[in-house]
Structures are given as structure tokens and as C-alpha cells.
Amino acid sequence: MTLTAATRAEQRETSLAHVKAAEWGKGLGTLARITRLTLRHPWQASAAVLATLVAATLQLIIPRLLGRAVDQAQGILSADADSAVAAQHALFITAATLLTISILRGLFTMAQNYYGDSVGHHLGYELRLATYEKLQRLSFSFHDKVHTGDLITLGILDIEGVRMFFNTGLVRMVLLTVLIGFGAVLLISTDPLLGLLSLSFVPFVAWRSSVTQLLLRSTWLELQERLAVLTRVMDENLGGIRVVRAFAAQAFELTKFDRISEGALQLAHERVLIRVRNTSAMNFSFFAAMGLVLWVGGGRVAAGTMTVGTLASFLTFMTILQMPVRQLGLMVNSFARASTCGRRLFELLDQEITIADKPGAEPLVLTDGVLAFEDVSFTYPGAEKPALVGIDFTARPGQTIGIVGPPGSGKSTIAHLIPRFYDVTSGRITIDGQDIRDVTLESLRRAVGVVQQDAFLFTTSIENNVAYGDPWAEEQRIARAAESAQLHDYIVGLPTGYGTIVGERGASLSGGQRQRLTIARSLILRHAMLVFDDSTAAVDAGTEQRIRAAIRTHASERVTLIISHRLSSLMHADEILFIEDGRIVERGTHGDLLAAGGRYRALHDLQLPPVEDAMQGAAE
């Protein structure tokens, strides 16, 4: 946060470059594309592969050295040099070589793991940025159809699967190829039969471990699903504990819990068995191969056709090979995981952003501030029925347009079209004569503010929430916006004032307070046009009037759209549109519409009695 302007700008540039880089290898197969992406870090990737090659080779030398040492100790290799000093010397050299190689192996293994990991973390960083950037820009229609939970999984687990591919898949593949390949050549060239026996466990273990890992993966996914259900049951139960108690449903809830829990336990148990069967079988086949080598090799040593050292080197070689061969399954798993995770991730990253600036779009030029809907129709993607048909109206500065209608009539859709949350299907929306699709999105959204009914509040301080749209707003501006929204007095009455953290999803505020906070958040941006999308539903009528009065004094030259089902909110509007089934069925002023005696009148009659009574009560 204490970065200078220059480094900040520079960082932003490099971060954005990383985001762009996620497009590398577009069009290639999933695994090829991931590989291509890792090549964005050529130095580290090469370092990892090179270190792997060296480490694996060094690994192969160690058994030979140990074998030689055993033979030297027996005085076999130095039979002609019968001086003990020479033999001692030979042993010393072997020991020194072994120590050096051990140290080098350690260093190269470290480099292999570190650089392998490091490529993964850098790739992970880039993919996280690219995913976040994409998700922030994808239009509402995308977010409408994709479940938030799936997106979160994608942004966490799928990236993990892709970023790990280099280290757990590719690097491990290099390691295993060298170890098993060269190892086999070395062993078989030394002694074909014994070599084959030493390697006899490899195919079995490799196969078992691959099958098991894939099985563990699929059962893991299923277990996660069951645990997610369990989580949901617990979460809902605890969140709705009053309902549970009110209906004395504790026993019912426990039965539900037990049923799901038992299922999950069962599966967890199965997974333990799958894993154990595999490890035990792998251990057994390894030791069995070792027994065979010992038996055959032992016979040769006894017959004098083989030295103890050679036998010992075969045995050590097996011990060294054991671990990597077991990990073959992990490598297979890594390939499988990267391929499914990568497919999902790239599908998101390649998703086209449907609502974006046209090439060469200019910022909106506000002259008078006239908003016009010109024969606008709109159908939600995938829907059959149009949500809006032939909407036509003009709002001039200082004017208020009221929009009313039954639930689902398309009122909110009108609000969503103005800042281009969706694009119109036909017709056009203009601001001062400019089609909103021809201007930049950012300038449009700075000009138009939409206050939503159930807006999202962020888990941070009230101050940060009010300043959400302009994080550099001065304190006075924040306070003024809160004052206009009739929330300032409440906030300063809190022990920590504006610093008070808004609880999870704004839970610690009442519905009305949350809406007022949302209003304050919009007011701070001083939009040229404000759309209230049923955003005062939970605010009482008196407070709402005060909010409107405050807004009027601060910006009388604004276009205001009020969407509400409460007529008192919009009866003073310059024009009221009554929407039904996506069409304007009645329009005019409050007086006109009452006189017309249509739907508006009917709604009015439905709502008014208590209010009138109340007024009478007040007058008395």
C-alpha cells in the first residue's frame, strides 16, 4: 500500500500482461496448453528439468558406489594391491565420492523441487489474476446462469489442478523416465536375469498405483459432494435453529444428519480400504521381488559368479526405485486432474465478454443529460418470452419517471438496461443522443447509478462500503452521502462509528439500514442519472421522504427513475409508467392515471386505505 505511483503503475502493467498471457496456447489441447503456459517461465522450467535430470542420474550412481565399497571392503577389487593402505585408500575415495554425490543429489533435488514448485506458483498467480479479471468483467447474463459455488471451486481447486501439473506431472515424468529407463538399462546390462527380477515389481506397482489413484480421485470427488451436503445440512440447521426448535424438529434433523453422515462415513471407509489394499499389495510385491533377487543373487554369490557388492547394489537400487515407482500413480492422477481442471478453467478464460466497449468507443459526453428509451425490446438470453416490448420514454434533467407494475412485469429489467448490464435486443437507449452501446462502459456507469433492492454489502467498514464506488472520497463526502441517506446519525451513534464492520453480507444491519447504506453508496458518486430499483422497499415512508428531499437539494438537475411497488414513493413523478408483461399499459401523471380508473387506480385503492386512515389519525 505504500508503493510509489510509478511502481504501482508498473505493477499494474505487469499484472495485466500476466492476464493476457493466459491466452497463450489457445486452441491447443488442454495439457498442451498448460505446458505452453509453463513455458512462460523458461528459465525456471528448464532449471527444474535440468536439476531433475542431474538428480536422477546421481541417484543412479549411488547404488553402484555402495556396491563398490562393499567389494572394496572385501578386498576383491584390490586383490593385487595387497597392502592394506591401498585398500584403505580406495575405500576412502569411494566414501568421499559418495559423500560428494549425496550432497550434490540433495542440492539438485532441492533445485528440482523448488523450481518445479516455483513454476507452479507463478503460473497459479497468473491464472488467479486472469480468472479474477475475467469474472469481474463477464456480463450479468453469464453470472445469471453459472452458480457462484461452481465459480469459486473453479477459481480455487481448478487453478490448483492446473498449476500443479508441471511439478507433479511433467517433472515427475522426467524423473521416472530417467530412473526407470536408465536404471533398467544399467541393471540389465550388468546382469540380465537379476536386472529383470529387480525390476519385476515395477509394472505391477505402477499399474496398481495408477488404478488406485484414479479410483481414489473419483471417490474423493464423490466424498466431497457428500460432505458438501452434510455441510449444507449443518449450516442450514444452525442458521435456522429457531425454526428447528419452533417445530421441535431436533430429532428429525438428527436423523437427517445421521443419514448423510453415515453415507459419507461409509465412503470414507471404502477409501481407506482402497488405499490400504494398494499400499499393502505394493509393499508385498516390492519385497517379493527383493526376495527373488536375494535368492537368485545369493546363489550366484555362493557359486562365486557374483560379488556381494553387486548384489548389494542391486538391492539398494531397488530401495531407491521403490518410492518414485509408487508415485507413478500420482503422476497419472496429476495428468487426469490437470486435464479436467484445465478444460473447465480454459472454458472460462476463453469466454467472450459480451458486454464490452466497442472498438474506438468514446467516453460519454454529457450535455443536457437526457435519457431516452426508443422502442426498446429485450429478451433474456435463453428465455422464450420477451421481458420488455416496445418501451419508449424520454426523461429530461430534473424529471422523475416512476415505474410501477406487478411482480415479474419487467420493471427491474428497465433499470438493468440503462447501465448496460444487459444489451437491448432491439431499439436503442440513448443519453444526450448517444447510443449507450457506442460509449465506453466506464463513462456510462459513472453517469448512471442504479440502487438495487437487495444489493451486496461488503464485509468491511461502513466507511469503505459507502466509498465503494470512489475509494478516494474525502471523509466529508462520505458523511454527506450518509446524511442524505438518513443513516449518518445512526452510524455516529455506533461505538466504532464509520469504522464499524458490516457483518457477513451486512447481517448486522436491519433491512432498512442496509438499503440506506446502498443509497449512500450510490449518492457519493454524484451520478447524472439515478435509478432506484425498488431500493426503498424496506425503508419506511417517512424516512424515504426525507431521503428524497435531501437528494433533491443536492441535485435538482438529475434524471431520476423510481421503480417501486409503493405508490407513495412515485406518486410525485413527472410521468408514471405502468408496466405489465413487459409493455407500458398506462402512462401519465398520478392525477391522470387515477382519473383514468385503470390498473393504476386499482393498485392505488389496494394500497391506500391504511395510509389515509393514518393521515386522518394524524390530523385529529
Binding site: 549425496s102 532441492m110 519385497f287 417517512g542
Partner: protein, 629 residues
Amino acid sequence: MSIRSEKVLIAGTERPPRAVVGSHREKEEIFGAVYDPKIVRRIWSFVSPYRGKVVLSVAAVLVFTLTQLAIPLIIRTAIDSGMAGGVADHSVLVSCALAFAATILVNYGASYLQETVVGSAAEHVLFDMRRAMFSHLQRVSLSFMDKTEVGRLMSRLQGDVNSMQEFMETSVLSVGDIALLAGIVVVLLWLDPRLGLLTLATMPALFIVRLFWLPLAKRSFMEAHETSSIANGALAEGIHGVRTVQSMSRQRVNFELYDEKVRAHRDANLLAAKYAQVMVPIVDTLTGIAMATVIVVGGSMVLSKSLDIGVMVAFLFYIQRFFDPIRSLTLQYSVMQRAMASGQRISEVLDVPVDVTDKTDAVALPEDMDGSVEFRNVTFGYVPGQPVLHDVSFRVNPGETVALVGPTGSGKTSAMALVHRFYDVTRGSVLVGGRDVRDVTQDSLGRHIAMVLQEPFLFSGTVFDNIRYHKTEASRAEVVSAAKAVGAHEFIMQLPKGYDSELEQRGSNISQGQRQLISFARALVADARILVLDEATANIDSYTERQIQKALAILLKGRTGLVIAHRLATIRGADRIIVLQNGTLVEQGNHDALMQKKGLYARLYSMNYASFDDIPAELIAGGLSRTTS
């Protein structure tokens, strides 16, 4: 417009923005004391049902360790007596082969037994702990639930339970590690004390290195973990709030803030990787030193015939296994600390007192009870010494509808909770059907009282199951007729699968008003004598609103109704109105009577607020009869 946005960005370079992404998180203690007898006893209480299994698996671990120790020894014997020195004795080789075969069979069995038993016992303990906490939470006092965030409880039920499982599994393995370590030391010293001592000299070196390394490494691992949760939290927030982000054009600022978080995440992970990997060359070097020692010292001894060649080979084999147990044992230390902290938190949940329990001689509320509700001099508070109800007395006669009204904080909700005995009164008594609620079983109380809460909480599941939540044996016909009665049938039939449509979490895929109607149908299916209802404050569109008013009338018909009313229509429809202020009953009567009295009710009513709850406290206190429009 464009000029302004430029200014914002330039300004941003001078002064930090008032902005964060996904930053506010509660921190919890992750490491506890390594050993806390009280918590160990608690953990043991969960483990002890499986103690047979634990004993078995420890035995299996020990056997498994013994077979691992035996293999190099068999190789040694095979070399020294079966093949080396030209004095090859074929029968020794055969018996070695047999011994080897036997050992690996035992190894197979022991490894299978140990892992299955440990694995399944640990899973069982985990599920048992979770169930114990969950079922305890079903009974603990609501005042605890009121002040505890669900998220915190969930982390107990999941995170803490998981770290206990990790602890369980690794503990048994640690027994094996300790046995292996001790075994190797003993065997090496037994094979050749001098060479053994020399070789083992590298072991303390590793211990010392680990001792210095561990705290640093642990901190970096924690940091990696922490930054990961922060980055994930920010991502989740960005996804949940994406519509707000876009409408307020916060993408650029958020991207930069998110960049900082993921950058920190990456760097913390890179540092952690360094710490993790730095041990590799150290261990390899120490292994190299130990092997070199065996080659030089052991080799010379073999040359001078003071050591069998097989012993040297065995030494080389042991050395390769040598450092594994030390590595996992030092890690076990942190696992134990973590488990103790988790155990502490799990104990906290299990120790939350259960305030409201059935008396031992509690009886079921009789089926033919009259359905009256009476408060007799009730004083009640959530915190001792801070009563929210003072000496409140009133009676609701069978079949009567009483509206409870009053400003926020007047004690309406508390009064309602007392009817169902969510809490026990401090003084006085609450009677249902003429009996003190403390003398009857909670179950029977639940059968006779249906509640509709302010927030119509629905569970994920079908509409059908939600409506019959209170009465799970209710037939489809019952459910449908209840839905029809409250006017929910029509919209339910318009859902993709009608009554079998799945409701998403908390019913988020239907509107607020519709949720309300379903919760009414749910209460109607319950068919209880007494209905306690907290009217929703959220404003609902006039069409649904009208439906709700009708439904309410149907719901109250023929029942005793106690309604916390917010809407004027509801209030005026009640037989009687009880006005509460600051926990005291200030007036009661019907609407007209109260209006004439010109007391608090008349004043509140004349203020033209949609709900009494919205009226600012100073207006009530000041008694200003000011109208606001």
C-alpha cells in the same frame, strides 16, 4: 466523465484508497499447548469406544516395524552365512529365503491391519465428534446460538474435527516411528557398538537442525496457508458481489487489490517452498556422512576381518531408513499442538450449558388443552441483571388473536420466545393451556404451538418437504390443501416441478413474499392450537401483500394467535392489542379504545410509519406527535 475517472486514478497514487477486497476475517488460535491433560481426557472419551481397535493397531504397527527391522538382518545373515567367504551353506540360504518370505507375509498382514484399523477408527472418531457437537447444539440455550456466528460453529464442526482426525491417524504412526527409531538404534549398537555409535552420531545433528528449522518453517507454512485463505476469500467476495462491482465500476481498483493479495500468496508459498526444500540437501548430506562413515570405518573393519561384510551391508540399508522417523516425529509436534487447540475449541462447544431441559417429572401437554396462553408477572432477561421484560402479565384466551406492538427493543420478540420456552423466565411464569411451560415436555409444547418467524427460513429440499417440515408424515393432499388455503398453490404450480421443485439454499430461488407464504403453509400443516407469529417487516409488493393478509386470516381462524404485528392492517384485525414499551406492558385494548386513550399507541399510530419498529427512539421518548410528510 472521463476526466473525473482520470482524476480518481491519479489521486489514488497519492493516498491509499478506502478499499479492501475480502479482508475482514476472524483469527483463531491455531496452536495450543503440546499437552493438556483435560483435553486429552476429552479426546480419549471419543477414542475409548474404539480402544480395542487402537490397541490392535498399535500392536500391528509394532509388528510392522519389527518386520522392517528384520529384513536387513535377514539379508545380513544370508550374506554372511549363506554366501560369503566361500563357506557357502546352501541350507542357510534356504532358511533365509523362508524367513524372508515369512517376514514379508507378516509385513503385508500387519500393514494391512494397521492402516485399515487406524484409518477407520479415525474416521469414526471424526464423525462421532461432529455428531456429538451437532446434537449438543440442538439442545444448547438459544442465547448461545444468538450470539455465536454460524460460520464459527461450522469451523468447529469441520476444520477442528479434521485436525483431530489428522492427529489420530498420525499418532499411531508416530508410535511406529518411535519404535523404528529405537529399533534401528538398538540393532546398530547390537551389530557393532563402535560402528553403531559412529553412525548414529549424525542423528543428533539432524535433531538440532530441525529444532532451529521448525519454528521458522512453521511460520512460513502458516503464512502460506493464511495468505491462501485471504486470496480465496477475496475471490469469493468478488464473485458474490460481482453485480455491485460492475455497477460501481470497481473492477480496476479491485483488480489491483486482488493482485496484492495473490502476489502475497505466491510469495508466501515460494518462501514456504524454500523452507521445505532446504531440508533435502541437509538430510542427504547427513545420510552421505553416515554412509561414508560406514564405508571408511566399517570397510576397514571388514578388511581387517573384525566385521562381517553382511553387517556392513545391513548398516547401509538401515542408514537409508534412518532419517524418516526423525522427520515425521518433528512434524508430529505441530500436529499435536494443532490438535490440542482444536480439542480445546471442540470442548468449548460440548461444554456450552443446556439451560432448558425437561423436568424429570415433565408430562406431555394434554391433547385437549384449551389453547390459552398466559403470562403471570413475567420478568426475563438474557443477561442476569438486565431484564428485557419487567413484570408482564396478560392472558390470551382460547381462539383469541392478540397483537403485540411496540417500538424496537420493547421486548415483543422475547415474549414470543418465552411461549415456546426457548428460554426460561427469571421470575413469574408462562402458562400454556393452564400449565406452566416448565412442567410439560418440550416436545409436546412444540406439537401444540406453531411458530412463524420473521425471517421465513426455508431449508434446501423440495417445496413439498418444506411445507411438511413440522409434520413429516403429512400426505400430499394435506400439503396441497394447506398451500391452496394460504394462496401459495398457484405459484408453486408454476415452478418447474411444482411441489417437487428443489428450493435452493434458504429458498433463494423464490421471492421473499413467496417464502413467506410457504412458511404460512408450513404452519398450517402443523395444525397446532396456538399460533405464534412474528410478522415480516420486509416490504412486499402489494399483490403478494394482499395474499399474505388473507392467508394470515385463514391461519388464525380457530386458533389462539399471538402476533407480533408490524402492519397496520394486521394490528387492526386483532381482537386485542397489547402495547409494550421498554419491556413493560403499557396499555392494552382494541384499536378504537387505544386510539381514544391517546396514549403511546395512538401516538405511534399517528406518526405514519410503515412499522412501529422504524420510529426513531427520540421521537418516542420525546413524545413529539410530529408527522413526517
